[in-house]
Symmetry: C2
Subunit: 472 residues, 2 copies
């Protein structure tokens, strides 16, 4: 039985680094730093998250596509801000076999510059719009900061939706839909989040504006899980994505993107886990229920048969279930499955078989109860709902307790989490506060909030609130 | 309505090149040759094929993993034959941002050299064996020959299973299992295939032996869809993949791999299609049934309601169904869905609604019949079975008619398809025949077949049959 060296409640960062490997999510020993191996348990978890994303895409009429990984340097360089933003963090392919390529190709850091030359060919008329596509692929970024599994890696499992619209207004509708998608998706993952409109100097390279999706980690740092971008026609112009309108005029498309990454796993691990290991939300748990036979001599067959029958019953009811028949003690089995965060454990011993009962144990609160075999499917599904609700509530409570709206830098100092301060709108003032708080700007709240105060730096009237936090 | 320029029965290769784009499977206009864009319809088709593969992997206890795309040059160079075989066709990443990398990295052409250094860490004891893993990823090969969608591309959608075993015998059991998997999978795809043991000079770089999975395309050329490799301990030695046996001794693992690629789509398109377009086997058809309302003035609502009701009914019965309500003529709709190869078309007009009937049209044989609404689910599912059987039978008939076992080169000349000739076992003799027939060696039949003849080149007694064909 492996031992956990670190406690989440004592040293979150070390606990995190340890648990991702102990729980068999990934292996960090691959010989390229920041490129980790996805082990079966981690890959299953990611696949379940991808499944939820795909369900949302189907529901909102997005079509899945796949664009090549490699992008010619000339396609990449068409939008000026974009190349400035990404130029220093892309990987270059320069040779094929023994030959030098005529033009260098880069590994996609994101797919705007792969897709948009094609969109320019695909879109002719207003009847081709809106174009709503997405892909789930790996992207590559040359990270120079310290890497961390799922949170800061160099090969990134990535979701990216790209849409084209007749005008700004229709693109804005898409932004609204994206926010709704995030709401539904992160509810299922039990991850409350905040949406912030990034300041101009920190928006996506080429965007008109950027909304970031952030969660608060137990360390008090925020983790950005995704972003929604309004491009206006910033890319449509250089990539010539235009259409013939109903009145016969040629117009540029307006575009949006919505991106999320494997950081979602980082948040699932960090927000829900505890000192015993992972705690998986039932919606995405690779195994939702584990059955542990409690065997006494002479009663083996009765108990194992009963476990098998229950396994079939749960499986036929759409529950992801596993029977652990390994030849080790039940205690060791409990330890393993707690580490992996399986939401519900079922124990079945000879007396349970006699009484036609099972013992249900919740991973999140260790609550134990006997329930009748007959009604167990219904009860298990209720428990799933209840676990999800509790995970969400706990995370929401933590988020609320650690969001502070204050008026002066003095009040802000020493506060943990997300801090909102009045802001006049000038970059210099925000930078000054970043320095004092040793944090980063997250952006303004996206809903309009009255802020009749003064900027704590320059003393001029404030236009809005600005959020600051230490970030991953 | 787009027009097909080429007929499959007249110019197969041009028909193929045209249909992959007309049917919206891919777009070949991406600015890097041999790297095509997967359009939604093509991607869905590939996803359905992947789903069948994953089902087989689950059934046989393989675990899905994901290994990094990039491989350090030093990991790649550990197995001599392997680097010789692949060295000239890999892409090299040499720079990150503005920096030159200390060591070059290559894009995976296949993942042996990414996985095996890790397997060496994962495997300690005989209890860790067998290790059965797989991944579905893109691989990259610098093709210098002419590219062709799905058949010869430079970014390849790829399935690769990698297994480790205690000894050669256990690895041989895996080869048997792989052959069974291929049998079940290609049955569902209605693709009869042949298995050939590759000659030594043409086996996978580093393998002990290689079995290839080939189908015969309508052009008379074979298309290799996959291969199964027995590695013995050829890789285990340089990569130090060993384990402690029950008797305490340290031994090398024996390994196998099983690979398949997007060429499966090439075969689906080529083998089943016809002059009207694709013909999709029901198991993987992105849309299995399309409903076309036949609308007459005044009856629109009745017909459309009836279509919607049927749509819900079929969907709830697990059928992938679409209602085409576009404002174009039924004839144009037929044309579109025939091009895309949807297995069954349903037509519903006012008289059908009155009679509580629908008209069913099979894509493969254009057979039309009226069936009662009440029993239509059952009949549709029977039609799916019947279509699959017919597609398989037709392909099998073609394969059988075009496999020729002859004794002399004279008899072989001018024959189309796959030719089997007696073979003495020497490379030179096989090469001589390759030259005469302008074809390639496929390999020996994997089941032992008596061949008491003489080699048609050197006149010495033949050991076995050798297969030759023109290949893609």
């Amino acid at each position: 039985m492996p031992e956990t060296k670190y406690k989440k409640t004592e040293d979150f960062n070390e606990w995190y680094n340890e648990i991702v490997e102990l729980a068999d999510l990934c292996d960090k020993r691959y010989p390229i730093k920041g490129m980790n191996v996805w082990r079966p348990y981690g890959w299953k978890l990611m696949s379940h998250v991808d499944k939820l994303t795909r369900d949302e895409m189907i529901k909102t009429d997005h079509q899945e596509v796949y664009f090549p990984l490699l992008i010619p340097e000339s396609s990449f360089k068409k939008e000026e801000e974009h190349i400035e933003g990404f130029g220093s963090e892309v990987y270059w392919v320069t040779h094929a076999g023994l030959n030098k390529l005529e033009e260098r190709w880069l590994l996609r850091p994101t797919s705007e510059t792969a897709m948009y030359p094609m969109f320019s060919l695909w879109i002719r008329s207003h009847t081709d719009l809106p174009l709503k596509t997405y892909q789930i692929v790996n992207t590559f970024r040359y990270e120079t900061k310290q890497t961390r599994a799922f949170i800061r890696v160099r090969e990134i499992h990535f979701f990216e939706a790209h849409t084209c619209h007749v005008d700004f207004k229709d693109a804005e509708k898409q932004i609204k839909e994206d926010k709704d998608i995030a709401g539904r998706l992160f509810q299922k993952l039990c991850l409350p989040f905040i949406l912030s409109k990034r300041p101009d100097w920190d928006k996506f390279a080429g965007a008109f504006y950027t909304i970031s999706i952030d969660v608060l980690m137990p360390s008090g740092r925020t983790l950005q899980l995704g972003s929604i971008h309004q491009y206006r026609d910033n890319f449509a112009k250089p990539y010539e994505i235009s259409y013939e309108a109903e009145d016969g005029k040629h117009k540029n498309c307006h575009q949006t993107t919505y991106g999320m990454s494997e950081r979602i796993l980082g948040a699932l691990i960090g927000v829900h886990g505890d000192n015993k290991g992972l705690v998986m939300p039932p919606e995405v748990a690779p195994t939702q229920v584990v059955i542990i036979p409690i065997i006494f001599k002479g009663k083996e067959k009765t108990v194992l048969d009963s476990c098998d029958t229950l396994y079939e019953k749960l499986k036929n009811n759409g529950i992801r279930v596993h029977v652990d028949k390994r030849d080790i003690t039940p205690g060791n089995k409990y330890y393993d499955w707690e580490l992996k965060g399986v939401p519900l454990r079922i124990e079945i011993g000879p007396r349970d078989v006699e009484k036609k009962e099972i013992v249900l144990v919740r991973r999140d609160i260790s609550e134990k109860k006997s329930v009748s075999l007959k009604s167990c499917v219904k009860i298990i599904k209720e428990e799933f709902r209840s676990i999800s609700e509790d995970l969400y509530k706990n995370a929401e409570k933590f988020l609320k307790e650690n969001m502070h709206r204050v008026k002066t830098v003095e009040e802000a100092k020493g506060l943990k989490g997300i801090i909102e301060l009045p802001w006049c709108g000038k970059e210099d003032c925000a930078m000054e506060i970043e320095n004092i708080l040793e944090g980063n700007t997250l952006g303004e709240p996206i809903e309009h909030v009255e802020c009749k105060n003064v900027c704590p730096v320059c003393g001029k009237p404030s236009k809005t609130w600005m959020r600051y936090a230490k970030t991953y």
